[in-house]
């Protein structure tokens, strides 16, 4: 196959001029990544830090007050006492509180006499994700309360001490922000190139272009190059924001990370190009790229749902999707400091996907205008 680099560069230069003159593309390439990162970084926070908890203390003893304090001193709850005339459930009905703690009468007396004190925690089961988190906090709080109220030091019993590696604070931002890079590149890359070839078909320039000596591989390479630079700039922005705004630690090698980024960006761009080549219409290309870019990146990459817990079909299906592999790399490098050796599998998978997508885009690229 004869490939002329000068002609590919001519296409690239032309594309750069299109990009610089099209505010929409520029905004998409540079602004969207940052916007998405800031939005998702702040909104998707799976640690609930300020949960409003209404407290009805029917006991009014030192012990009952101390028990309520265990909740507030955990740092997760903001206590708001209320009088006994109001029905506890009404707070949940009106969504004025995420939970209601009712400390029953004789709570203090029972504890003092060595029996169990009774308290009730009402949670809003309609908000499943929040309730799940609260329940996990509850275990720790009960632990603290038991220690506080135990009359005698605990007997020697087996104890599990859990230490979380790589993300000691179990901060969901540390977990989400590196993953967001995957979603952003995966979506953006596909969107950016999906328009380019379809646009040439729509505005008639393809007919003129195809009558020149330029070859499909040169057009594909020439179109990949500038969008690669644009996407990489967007990715660097995301990386800097992750580090500086969200304080996510970076434990891995930068060479590994940026190599993997480059491979993943190319895969996303190639996917967009393939769509553009096949669709020939901007609107269709836009729709196809939204579906094929957004869905895998969000739902099938392990971003929200872990790949291991997917049904068997989807577990294998995700293997042909580049976001799934980059997700593994991104989280591995950021938090675990994984190197080339540990990431050989996802990296080679990305390379294989790349090769297939680019080959398909070139093969499907028609050198005539036959319908």
């Amino acid at each position: 196959m004869n490939f002329n680099a000068a002609r590919a560069l001519a296409i690239a230069l032309k594309e750069v001029r299109h990009i610089l003159r099209d505010p929409f593309t520029l905004a998409l390439g540079l602004g969207l990544p940052l916007l998405l990162l800031l939005m998702f970084g702040f909104i998707i926070d799976l640690n609930y830090g300020d949960i409003g908890l209404k407290v009805q203390d029917q006991d009014h003893t030192r012990l009952s007050r101390e028990f309520a304090r265990t909740f507030s001193s955990s740092g997760y709850f903001r206590l708001e006492p209320f009088s006994s005339e109001i029905a506890p459930v009404s707070w949940l009905d009106s969504e004025k509180a995420s939970g209601v703690l009712v400390i029953k009468e004789n709570f203090g007396r029972h504890i003092k006499s060595g029996r169990q004190g009774e308290a009730q925690l009402l949670l809003d089961g309609a908000d499943n994700s929040k309730t799940g988190v609260v329940l996990s906090y509850l275990a720790g709080i009960m632990d603290a309360a038991n220690r506080k109220f135990a009359q005698t030091p605990p007997r020697n019993s087996p104890e599990i001490r859990t230490r979380f590696l790589f993300n000691q604070e179990l901060s969901s931002r540390w977990f989400i922000v590196p993953a967001l890079a995957t979603v952003i590149i995966g979506l953006l890359g596909v969107l950016l190139t999906a328009m380019t070839v379809a646009r040439e078909w729509e505005n008639g320039s393809m007919e003129l272009l195809l009558s020149t000596p330029v070859r499909p591989l040169e057009i594909v390479a020439g179109k990949l190059l500038p969008y690669f630079a644009l996407s990489l700039t967007g990715t660097v922005t995301v990386y800097l924001a992750a580090r500086l705004v969200f304080g996510v630690p970076f434990n891995g090698s930068r060479i590994v990370y940026w190599t993997a980024c480059s491979v993943f960006i190319t895969a996303a761009l190639a996917q967009g190009l393939l769509i553009s080549v096949v669709a020939r219409q901007q609107r269709l290309a836009m729709q196809l790229s939204m579906i094929s870019g957004l869905l895998p990146a969000f739902l099938l990459s392990g971003f929200i749902f872990p790949v291991e817990s997917m049904p068997v079909f989807f577990r294998y299906f995700t293997m042909i999707l580049s976001p799934r592999w980059f997700m593994e790399i991104s989280r591995g490098v950021f938090l675990k400091g994984a190197g080339f050796m540990e990431l050989a599998r996802p990296l080679s998978a990305l390379l294989a996907i790349n090769t297939v997508l680019i080959t398909l885009a070139v093969k499907k690229f028609k050198t005539d205008i036959e319908p």
Binding site: N4, L13, R17, R21, N203, S205, E207, L208, S211
Partner: protein, 242 residues
């Protein structure tokens, strides 16, 4: 010694697009180095014919043969020598005249020095010097066509295919376009252009009359009219239409 520009021979070329038979067993001979006009009303098959010559469409049956000085040339070898400017807008509205010329310079890999000299000459001929920095989307219809023409002329093609270059162009610009083509043909170039303006037929060295995908007649304009016994080509088509 300079051999004449390549000629093209069509042998019973048939092409169906959708349900329409766009070309129906068309056989004709485009002699090298001449200005050929393909004349016919809308829907006659002119665009399909030019697209087939440019290699953008492939005939269902029949053959297109290129030859120079009696020797046949495979399409792959002649393709870089063919220039084609479509009827529909096909330039980039956001690129300027100068940027279009640079783009075509790179696609055809012209040496910089040669390009500098040629592009100036072409801009001058087309009277576009003052508009070199204007974007194609902001050019008038006539200037747009002239820009397209000089872009494809830049690499001095042997065969120039123009699909209705004068349509939607004011009379002065039409005149300029014709002058451009005459200046460039002069034996060094085979020009094949389509037009639905019958009065333009007389400016061509040879004309081919096309209607409903069929070739009606062909030859030198004067001799052809005489042979058909008509005062003008318009009358020929009006008669045929009845």
């Amino acid at each position: 010694m300079q051999t004449a520009a390549a000629g093209i021979k069509l042998e019973s070329v048939t092409k169906t697009l959708g349900k329409t038979r766009a070309l129906d067993a068309v056989s004709l001979d485009f002699k090298g180095g001449l200005l050929h006009g393909i004349i016919g009303p809308n829907g006659a098959g002119k665009t399909t014919l030019l697209r087939i010559l440019a290699g953008l469409l492939h005939p269902d049956s029949g053959a297109v043969r290129f030859s120079r000085g009696g020797a046949q040339i495979p399409f792959g070898d002649i393709r870089p020598e063919i220039a084609y400017f479509p009827q529909e807008p096909s330039l980039y509205p956001d690129l300027s005249c100068a940027e279009h010329l640079e783009f075509f310079r790179d696609l055809y890999q012209l040496p910089r020095a040669e390009f500098a000299q040629k592009s100036e000459a072409l801009l001058h001929l087309a009277r576009l010097e003052k508009f070199r920095n204007r974007r194609a989307g902001q050019l008038s219809g006539g200037m747009y066509k002239k820009l397209g023409l000089i872009c494809v002329l830049l690499h001095a093609p042997e065969i120039l295919l123009l699909d209705e270059p004068t349509i939607g162009v004011d009379p002065v610009s039409r005149r300029e376009l014709w002058d451009l083509m005459h200046d460039f043909s002069a034996g060094r170039m085979t020009i094949i252009m389509s037009t639905s303006y019958m009065d333009e037929a007389e400016r061509c060295a040879r004309v081919q009359l096309l209607e409903n995908g069929k070739l009606l007649a062909g030859g030198e304009p004067g001799a052809l009219l005489e042979k058909l016994g008509a005062a003008s080509f318009e009358k020929v088509f009006l008669r045929e239409g009845k």
